[in-house]
């Protein structure tokens, strides 16, 4: 075909906009964040894969280690133990959390705020503390030992009790959110159609909370599977995967076998994570801004039943926390119950263990400050800068991985990666820095999601407006984005601090004598039989985390009242 060439317009230069140095700076920062996260997450995880197919001398042996592992009956038993215990814990925690959340959202019982605060207290303590408390209550010298009818608390019973305690607040928060999202108009519609209460429950409440329940179940399941502190303290001779890794690595110094076990541990957690991820997406899709909140109406019998339930659960929760605190302040359980500060004075200070507490504080502050800056900054670059589509997709993926990786697995990966003689970052090994890094990475996903949610709520055109006004992006970031997102930023800081205070699984392989953390010290003191001192340390951790939460509450109420005047103004 003869196309008249002259009729075509002259070819125009393909125009790619020159990038201003502002954009290039933002892109460079994003590349840096992405590289850093990949380095401190993907690198260690990849090393686990490598080590799992090598023998002790670094020779490639294929799947020989796996074969050997699965041929060992005691190790196979651990898999079964881990899974059934986690399943039972999930089966107990979810109905408890659902009923509790139901009472908080659908009844008119008094004291809701107090119940809510009490329910969240387990988050402030290391999971070890729950195990210690249960030993005090039900152990060989336990006050309520008779209740177990001859069964020993050391073993599955203790693990299940302690895990239910430790996972309860996590499940409650998710279910609570799901129930709060319910649209009140659905209930009004059902009522106008004369649907009875029970039918309303099964046709509106339960389907509405479905995704939240599944998501909470997955979180509880993976928490229990991954947790190392509880089975270590109260598990007795009942083996689970997380403790197996510890035994292989610390006990037998068999790092490669540890890598194999950690991959086995990773599998159920990954599955749970995948299910959870899908559920969360559906949960957020369900949420519409137009929903009218449900307002419960008083109903005597129901409110009383709910109140009774919440009192029982709260007493249970407070009894666990209270026993640890009590143990730390008496001479010797159960023989001499007179008040004493000896566990603090001698057990912690004179024994020199108190340093671990200050290490923990330092680590938690550094994690909160550095972690918040990095996570929020990276989320900002991810959400609010233009271009780099593929890198951003990669970043989003990498940022969700930490939630699927048990702390033990991450910690072991860090040994492999940073202890490797050829790694230029080798110097980080056995420093405070590596503890901060592993903790930030370990708790990255939740913080990242908080930041992204807050940033998504901002108008996307802020950046466009500032570039039209010739204001560089970083100026708008500090002048508008950060102040507006301050509640989320503080929330991330608090979350990182509290978790850094109680974390144990990721750091148990990585501390040096002078960077030992309080949670690790509790573990060691418990092993040495110094229950009183261990309880005292746990009490200190709870106290400091509580202090941070109280400060957070005060700051959000008063300081924010000033910087966020526009919020209250727009409500007026």
């Amino acid at each position: 075909m003869a196309t008249p060439a002259a009729a075509l317009p002259p070819p125009l230069l393909t125009a790619r906009a020159r990038t201003h140095w502002h954009d290039r700076l933002a892109q460079a920062l994003l590349v840096f964040c992405c590289a850093a996260l990949a380095l401190f997450l993907i690198g260690p995880l990849a090393m686990i894969l490598v080590k799992s197919v090598q023998d002790r001398d670094g020779v490639f042996v294929g799947l020989a280690q796996f074969r050997e592992y699965f041929a060992t009956p005691s190790l196979r038993q651990s898999i079964w133990n881990t899974l059934w215990v986690a399943t039972v814990v999930t089966g107990i925690t979810i109905p408890l959390a659902f009923t509790y959340a139901y009472a908080l959202t659908r009844s008119c019982m008094p004291g809701k705020t107090a119940f809510r605060v009490i329910a969240l207290t387990p988050i402030l303590a290391p999971s070890l503390m729950a195990a210690i408390s249960f030993i005090q209550w039900f152990g060989t010298q336990g006050l309520l030992k008779a209740l177990l009818g001859g069964a020993s608390v050391y073993g599955p019973i203790g693990i299940i009790l302690s895990s239910v305690y430790a996972t309860f607040p996590h499940a409650l928060m998710i279910v609570l959110t799901a129930l709060l999202l319910a649209d009140g108009r659905l209930y009004e519609a059902a009522e106008s159609l004369r649907a009875p209460t029970l039918r309303r429950f099964f046709t509106i409440t339960l389907p509405g909370a479905k995704y939240g329940l599944v998501s909470a179940a997955m979180v509880v399941f993976s928490y229990t599977v991954s947790d190392f502190g509880i089975p270590k303290v109260i598990g007795g001779r009942f083996d689970v995967l997380a403790v197996d890794i510890f035994k292989q690595v610390i006990g037998q110094q068999n790092f490669n076998k540890g890598a194999v076990v950690s991959l086995v541990l990773l599998l159920p957690v990954l599955v749970a994570f995948a299910v959870d991820w899908v559920m969360r997406r559906r949960l957020s899709a369900q949420f519409t801004a137009r929903a009218v909140p449900y307002v419960p109406r008083p109903s005597r019998g129901f409110d009383r039943a709910m109140l009774a339930f919440c009192i029982v659960v709260s007493v249970f929760l407070l009894a666990v926390l209270g026993m640890a605190v009590y143990t730390s302040f008496i001479k010797l359980w159960p023989y001499d119950k007179s008040f004493s500060l000896r566990h603090y004075a001698y057990g912690l200070i004179d024994a020199g263990v108190i340093n671990t507490f200050f290490n923990s504080l330092r680590m938690a502050v550094l994690t909160a400050v550095i972690g918040t800056m990095f996570i929020f900054g990276a989320a900002y670059l991810l959400e609010k800068t233009r271009g780099m589509g593929r890198l951003k997709a990669f970043f989003r993926l990498v940022a969700t991985i930490p939630m699927a990786v048990p702390g033990m697995v991450l910690g072991l990966g860090y040994i492999f990666f940073f202890n490797h003689p050829d790694n230029p970052l080798n110097g980080l090994y056995h420093t405070m820095a590596i503890l901060v890094l592993v903790t930030i990475v370990h708790y990255y996903t939740s913080s990242h999601l908080t930041a992204v949610t807050a940033l998504k709520a901002l108008d996307d055109e802020f950046e466009s407006v500032s570039s039209s006004l010739k204001v560089p992006f970083y100026r708008t970031f500090f002048r508008v984005t950060v102040p507006v997102c301050l509640p989320a930023v503080l929330d991330i800081g608090r979350y990182l601090f509290v978790n850094a205070m109680v974390t144990i699984s990721a750091v148990v392989f990585l501390y040096a004598p002078d960077t030992q953390l309080a949670s690790v010290a509790i573990l060691n003191m418990d092993e040495a039989g110094e229950i009183g001192a261990a309880a005292a340390m746990a009490t200190l951790i709870v106290a400091s985390s509580t202090a941070v939460c109280v400060v957070y509450a005060i700051v959000t109420r008063f300081l924010l009242a000033r910087t966020q005047a526009w919020r209250t103004a727009s409500r007026a």
Binding site: D459, S467, W566
Partner: protein, 357 residues
Amino acid sequence: MTQAGPSFLELTGIRKSFGRFEALQGVSLSVRRGELMVFLGPSGCGKTTLLRIIAGLESQDEGRIVQDGRDISRVPAIRRDYGIVFQSYALFPNLTVDANVAYGLVNRRAARPAIRARVAELLKLVGLPDAGPKFPGQLSGGQQQRIALARAIATSPGLLLLDEPLSALDALERVRLRGEIRALQQRLGVTTIMVTHDQEEALSIADRVVVMNGGRIEQVGTPREVYERPATSFAADFVGKVNVLPAVAEGAGRFRCGSVSLAVGRDDIAAGTRVKLYLRPEEVGVHVNGHSAQGAFAAKVAKVEFLGAFCMIGIALDATDTPLLVASVPRQQVDADCLAPGAAVMISLPAAAMRVL
């Protein structure tokens, strides 16, 4: 109409695709200095993409942009000279109105008293002299958009871009603010491009309208040109209401539509060609009691839709037919002529107002 100056902004062969979707398929356009040009089209027609390309917020795949003699095709947004107002206002919620308006001024290291004076002047200009210490959240939507406008013109940009600025407002506020925008634009003489999907808004405010569809420009013209002489069937359809009559050319300027033969005054179309005739409802003549124009034909009223000042009368060749066309008739005439379903009427279709496309 304002005095149209020489070309201020020149777009040549702008193309843009998002993946496989071609948002702009080679758009060329010239905007005159000081005029208010409106990009009008349905959602997805590419009008907002074109605006964002002019602003440098999107980069075109191909094509050239020259603003005020300077080739800005590859210049990043921050180096271009424009102010912009978005549908969402995009006011910084944590800054007062004063700080919002001063946002671009502060960056230019102007002296503080000068900035304060400029902000006060701008707030007066948009009719909100006392809003300064308030936060955006305390203002109504219309007030917020006025502040966004003040912020956009604070640095006296050469080009003002308005991206659906009125769409988030209620009907009354929309009409009031569009009048204010027009007055302000004429007073400042700033070259302005506004994007909208509302044809009434476009016709009322624009010096010239660009009708866009499917990533292409359908027509560029003054509101009257676009309304009275639509260049394409899309333009006729999208801007205002229109009757579309399928017809066959009979030659000698006559067209047959069903059983009626119409004079259109276009004899350049060969007999037998199938065409479509376009006629605005208000051009349709409806007569009763023997008052009749030349070439009128008998028909029946099928439906009367009351719209306030006007009624839309559905007209069929007999009362049981589906309406062939609609006529817009003043309410007084509807009353005087007793136009009700079933009424016999004479219909005239003025040849001059009929468009063949």
